[in-house]
C-alpha cells in the first residue's frame, strides 16, 4: 500500500513531463487562476501528509506573499522595523501591506522606549560636557561631544519624523499609484532589493567596525592596566566620561555599553535613512523616465505629454515634501561626516600603538569615507534622474511637438529638483567635488597646527 502513492506521484510526474512546455505553462496558469483554492488545499494536504511530501509543505505561503507591488512603503518596511529595535522612528504598522495602517501615538510601548533612550542619551551627553569642560578644548578633544550631540539631535528629529510618517507615506502612495506602473516583477522588485542591500551592507560593515573597536579597546586596556580587573579596565576606557564623574559599578558599565551600541547604530542609521529616501525618490523618477524611453521618438498626442508633465510635477512635490521632512537629518549627517573625516585624517598622522589599533583605525576611516561618498552619490542621483526627461523631449518629432511638451521641457530646465540640507546647499554631483576640495583645504591648514603628541599614553584618557 505504501508504494502506491509514490507510484502515483511518479506517474503524474511522467505525464506532466511528457507534455510540451507550452501546455505545461498553460496548466500552471490555469491552476493559479484558481488561486483561492490553493491555500486551503495545501493546508488540508499538510494535515493529512504530516510533512511526508516536502514540496507541499512549502506551499503554506501563497504566491502573493512573494510578489512585490513596487511601492516604497513595502520596500522600507523591514528597514524601519530594524531601526525600531534601536529606538528610532517608533511607528506602528510598517510591515503592513497598505500605508493607511501606519499609526503613531505617544502611548505606544515603542514610543516610550524611544523617549527613555533619549533621556539616557541626555544624561550621557551632560556627563560628556562635564568631562570636556574640565580638560583642554581642542579640535580633537571635542570629538565625543560632537558625536553624542549629533546622535541626540538625530534621535529627536527621528521622533518628530515618526509623527509625520503616516501622512508622508499616504502622500507617497497617492502619487505612486498615479505613475505609469511597471509590468514585470523584475522591475517592481528593483527598488526594494536596492534598499535592502544598502541596509544589509551598511549594518554588516558597521558591525564589523564595532567589533574591531572592541578588539582594539581590549588590546589597549590590557596594555594600560590601571586596576586588576580587566573587565573594569575595558569599561573604564570605553566609557570614560561616565566614570570621570561617578564611581565604577557593574550596572553603570552595562548602561554605558548599551549606550555605545545604540549610538553606533544611530550614527550609521542617519546616513542610511538619507540613502533610502534618495533611492526611493530616484526610483520614482526612473519609473517615469522608463516610460518616456519606451515612447521615445514616436508621435504621441498632447494628452500624453500633459499627463506625464503632471506626474513629473507630482514627483517633484513629493521630493520637496520629503526634503522638508529629512532636511535636518541630512545637514547633521553631512556636517558630522565632514568633521569626522577631517579629525580622523589628522589623527592618522600620529603613531599607532599596536597593530590591532592600526587595522581598526584604517578600516574605520575607509568605512567613513566610503559611507560619505555613498550618501552623496545616492542623494545626487535624485537630481540626475530628474533631468533625464530632457533627453527624451529633444527627440520629439516636429509633427507632435505641442505647447504641453514645450512647457514640460521648460519646467525641467528651470527647476532645481534635489534634496538639500535645510536649503543651504543642494545635493548634486558638483557638491561632492566641492566637499572633497574643502576637506583637502582644511586638512592642509590643520596639519600645520598639528603636533605629534603621543595620544596613546595611559594617563590621558582621550582614547575614545
Amino acid at each position: 500500500m505504501r508504494f502506491l502513492p509514490k507510484l502515483e506521484r511518479k506517474f503524474r510526474r511522467w505525464k506532466k513531463l511528457k507534455k510540451p512546455p507550452l501546455l505545461r505553462k498553460l496548466d500552471t496558469l490555469f491552476k493559479s487562476a484558481h488561486k483561492g483554492h490553493r491555500p486551503e488545499d495545501s493546508a488540508k494536504r499538510v494535515q493529512k501528509g504530516n510533512g511526508k511530501d516536502v514540496k507541499n509543505e512549502l506551499s503554506y505561503k501563497s504566491r502573493e506573499q512573494f510578489m512585490y507591488n513596487g511601492s516604497f512603503h513595502e520596500a522600507v518596511g523591514s528597514v524601519l522595523l530594524t531601526a525600531q529595535c534601536f529606538a528610532m522612528m517608533p511607528v506602528r504598522g510598517v510591515t503592513a501591506k497598505h500605508p493607511s495602517s501606519l499609526r503613531f501615538s505617544w502611548r505606544y510601548v515603542r514610543t516610550c522606549c524611544c523617549l527613555l533612550f533619549m533621556a539616557s542619551m541626555l544624561i550621557n551627553l551632560s556627563l560628556t560636557i562635564y568631562k570636556v569642560l574640565h580638560g583642554s578644548i581642542t579640535f580633537n578633544s571635542i570629538r565625543p561631544l560632537i558625536f553624542k550631540s549629533c546622535i541626540f539631535l538625530v534621535c529627536g528629529k527621528a521622533l518628530s519624523l515618526a509623527r509625520q510618517w503616516p501622512e508622508l507615506m499616504m502622500k507617497w502612495y497617492q502619487i505612486e499609484k498615479d505613475l505609469p506602473q511597471y509590468q514585470t516583477q523584475f522591475e517592481k522588485r528593483r527598488m526594494a532589493q536596492t534598499i535592502r542591500m544598502v541596509m544589509l551592507v551598511g549594518m554588516m560593515l558597521s558591525f564589523a567596525e564595532h567589533l574591531l573597536s572592541i578588539v582594539s579597546a581590549i588590546n589597549y586596556a590590557e596594555f594600560c592596566s590601571r586596576t586588576d580587573d580587566p573587565i573594569r579596565n575595558f569599561f573604564e576606557l570605553t566609557n570614560d566620561e561616565i566614570f570621570y564623574a561617578l564611581n565604577y559599578s557593574a550596572p553603570l558599565a552595562l548602561w554605558g555599553k548599551l549606550q555605545n551600541v545604540y549610538s553606533t547604530f544611530i550614527w550609521n542609521y542617519m546616513d542610511i535613512l538619507v540613502m533610502i529616501v534618495s533611492i526611493g525618490l530616484a526610483s520614482k523618477f526612473r519609473q517615469l523616465n522608463d516610460n518616456l524611453l519606451r515612447f521615445k521618438g514616436l508621435h504621441m498626442a498632447a494628452a500624453y505629454w500633459s499627463e506625464r508633465r503632471i506626474q513629473y510635477r507630482n514627483i517633484c512635490t513629493l521630493c520637496s515634501t520629503m526634503d522638508d521632512a529629512i532636511s535636518f537629518i541630512t545637514i547633521i549627517s553631512f556636517s558630522n561626516n565632514l568633521y569626522f573625516i577631517c579629525v580622523q585624517l589628522l589623527r592618522s598622522l600620529n603613531t599607532m600603538p599596536s597593530v590591532a589599533h592600526t587595522v581598526y583605525f584604517y578600516f574605520s576611516l575607509f568605512f567613513l569615507i566610503g559611507r560619505t561618498l555613498a550618501v552623496s552619490l545616492y542623494a545626487a542621483s535624485v537630481h540626475d534622474e530628474s533631468r533625464r526627461p530632457l533627453r527624451y523631449l529633444r527627440c520629439v518629432p516636429k509633427e507632435s511637438w505641442c505647447p504641453e511638451a514645450m512647457r514640460f521641457a521648460e519646467e525641467i530646465t528651470s527647476d532645481m529638483v534635489a534634496l538639500s540640507g535645510m536649503k543651504f546647499f543642494n545635493l548634486t554631483r558638483k557638491l561632492v567635488l566641492s566637499v572633497a576640495g574643502t576637506i583637502v583645504t582644511y586638512e592642509l591648514v590643520l596639519i600645520q597646527f598639528h603636533e605629534d603628541q603621543d595620544l596613546w599614553t595611559c594617563d590621558q584618557s582621550t582614547y575614545s
Binding site: 540626475d384 530632457l390 533627453r391 529633444r394 527627440c395 516636429k398 511637438w401 521641457a409 521648460e410 530646465t413 554631483r429 558638483k430 561632492v432 567635488l433 576640495g437 583637502v440 583645504t441 592642509l444 591648514v445 596639519i447 600645520q448
Partner: protein, 435 residues
C-alpha cells in the same frame, strides 16, 4: 542586376523598396572618418599594451573586435604582470623606509599607469559597438551639404599625436641623460675627492637608480633591461591617457563645427525652408547623443587623467625652489615641468572646444529673420543654450573653459600652502654626495 544587390552594403540600411541600387558599396578608405584618422595611433598604442583590439587596420569599423584570445590582449596581460611587479616592489620599499610626500610620487605614477591600463581594457571592450555607431553617424557628415573644413579630420586628430609623442620622447631622453650624467659625475667626484672605489657600469647604474625593484627580484642584466623597458612603456601610457582624450575631443568638435558652419552659411540665404532646420536639429540631437555615449565610455579615464595631472603639477611646482647639483638637472626639471603644465592645459583646452563649438552657432540662430522663424529654430536655440554639451569626469565636472580657470586657481592655492610646509627642508640645501 542580382550582382548589384549582392554588392549592396548592408551597413547603409536605406532600402528603397522596389529600386535596386546600383551604386558601389561604401568605400570607407576614402571617407574622412574618425576611425580611419585615429587607427594608426591606436595601432602604435597596441605595441605599448594599451587598448587590445583586433582589426583596427581595416578601413571599415565592422572588423574591429575585442577578443580575449588575441595577440594584443596577450601583450597587455604580460605588460600588466610585469608592471605590477614594479608597483609591488616599490610599495614594499616605501613601507620599509616610511612614506613621505616626496617619495610617494613614484608609487602614484605606477598605480596610475596600472589603473589606466585596466580602464583602457574596459574601454576596448566597449569600443567596437561605439565606433560602429560613431561611424554610422559620421556618414551623414561626409556628404553634402556638409563640407570638409579647412583642416581635415585626419590632420586635426593626428597633429596632437605627433607633437605629443615627439615632446614626450625628448622628455624621456632628457630624463635618461640627466640620470646618467648625474651618476657619472657622482662617481668621478667621489673617486677623486673621497677615495671611494666605484666604477662606471650599467649594472651599478641600474642598481643605484632602481634599487626598489631588486628587493623582490635578484639582479641580472636581463632584469636591468626589463626595468628600463617597463619604465619606458609606463611613460608612454602616462602620456597616452591625455593624447587619447585630445584625439576624441578633436574628432567630436570637428563634427559640431561642421554643423555650425552649415548654420552660418544659411545666414545669407533669403528663404530657408523649415525642413532644413528640422534636419539640422535632428543631426545636432544625434551628435549630442553620440557625445553622451562617448562620455559614458571615457569618463573614468578623464577622471583619472585629471587627478593624475593635478597631483603631478602640484608636486613638480613644490620643487621649484629646490637647489640642484648640475646644469643638466635644471634643464630636465624645467623642461619636464613646462611639458607637464602645457600638456594639462592642452587637454583641457582641446576638450573645451567641444563645448565652444556646440554653442558657436547661437549668435547666428538668434538673428534668423521673422519670415524664416519656426518652431524648430526655437527648439534648437533652447537646446543649445540650456544643455551643457561637453565631456565630463563621471558627471562630477564638465570639461569647459571655466574648469581650466578654476583648476588653475585651486593649484595656486594649494601651492601657497604647501610651499610653507617645505620651507625648513629647503633651507637644509644639498645633501652630501658621497656616503
Amino acid at each position: 542586376m542580382a550582382k548589384g544587390t549582392q554588392n549592396k552594403n548592408l551597413d547603409e540600411g536605406n532600402f528603397d523598396f522596389g529600386i535596386i541600387k546600383s551604386e558601389t558599396s561604401t568605400d570607407y578608405a576614402q571617407l574622412d572618418l574618425f576611425h580611419r584618422a585615429a587607427s594608426p595611433i591606436m595601432l602604435l598604442a597596441q605595441c605599448f599594451a594599451i587598448m587590445p583590439l583586433t582589426g583596427i587596420r581595416r578601413a571599415s569599423p565592422r572588423h574591429v573586435h575585442f577578443r580575449f584570445k588575441s595577440v594584443p590582449m596577450i601583450v597587455t596581460v604580460i605588460f600588466m604582470m610585469a608592471s605590477s611587479v614594479l608597483t609591488l616592489s616599490m610599495l614594499k620599499f616605501l613601507l620599509n623606509i616610511g612614506v613621505t610626500a616626496k617619495n610617494f610620487v613614484g608609487q602614484v605614477f605606477f598605480t596610475c599607469v596600472q589603473c589606466a591600463c585596466i580602464l583602457f581594457i574596459d574601454l576596448a571592450r566597449r569600443w567596437p559597438p561605439l565606433i560602429r555607431y560613431w561611424t554610422r553617424l559620421e556618414l551623414i557628415f561626409t556628404k553634402p551639404p556638409y563640407e570638409v573644413l579647412k583642416r581635415s579630420l585626419s590632420q586635426r586628430v593626428r597633429q596632437p599625436a605627433f607633437i605629443l609623442i615627439a615632446l614626450s620622447l625628448v622628455e624621456h631622453g632628457l630624463y635618461l641623460s640627466s640620470a646618467i650624467v648625474s651618476y657619472k659625475q657622482r662617481v668621478y667626484y667621489c673617486t677623486e675627492n673621497h677615495n671611494a672605489t666605484m666604477g662606471v657600469s650599467f649594472d651599478d647604474y641600474i642598481k643605484l637608480n632602481y634599487d626598489y625593484v631588486f628587493i623582490l627580484l635578484p639582479y641580472t642584466r636581463f632584469f636591468g633591461i626589463y626595468v628600463l623597458v617597463v619604465n619606458g612603456t609606463c611613460t608612454f601610457i602616462w602620456n597616452y591617457m591625455d593624447l587619447f582624450i585630445m584625439m576624441i575631443s578633436r574628432g567630436l568638435a570637428y563634427r559640431f563645427e561642421q554643423i555650425s558652419k552649415r548654420i552660418c552659411r544659411l545666414e545669407h540665404e533669403d528663404r530657408v525652408p523649415e525642413t532644413t532646420f528640422m534636419e539640422i536639429r535632428e543631426h545636432y540631437v544625434r551628435m549630442c547623443e553620440l557625445l553622451e555615449r562617448v562620455d559614458d565610455a571615457l569618463s573614468s579615464i578623464i577622471l583619472l587623467s585629471c587627478a593624475n595631472n593635478l597631483y603631478f603639477v602640484c608636486c613638480q611646482l613644490l620643487n621649484i625652489f629646490n637647489k640642484l647639483r648640475w646644469p643638466i638637472n635644471y634643464i630636465y626639471f624645467w623642461y619636464s615641468m613646462l611639458y607637464l603644465v602645457g600638456r594639462t592645459a592642452c587637454v583641457f583646452l582641446t576638450a573645451a572646444t567641444i563645448n565652444d563649438e556646440s554653442k558657436s552657432a547661437l549668435s547666428v540662430l538668434r538673428r534668423v529673420s521673422s519670415k524664416n522663424w519656426c518652431v524648430e529654430v526655437e527648439r534648437l536655440i533652447f537646446q543649445m543654450s540650456t544643455q551643457t554639451v561637453a565631456l565630463s569626469g563621471k558627471k562630477f565636472y564638465f570639461l569647459t573653459r571655466r574648469l581650466l580657470f578654476g583648476m588653475a586657481g585651486t593649484i595656486v592655492t594649494y601651492e601657497l600652502v604647501l610651499l610653507q610646509f617645505d620651507e625648513p627642508n629647503r633651507r637644509k640645501g644639498l645633501l652630501p654626495l658621497c656616503a
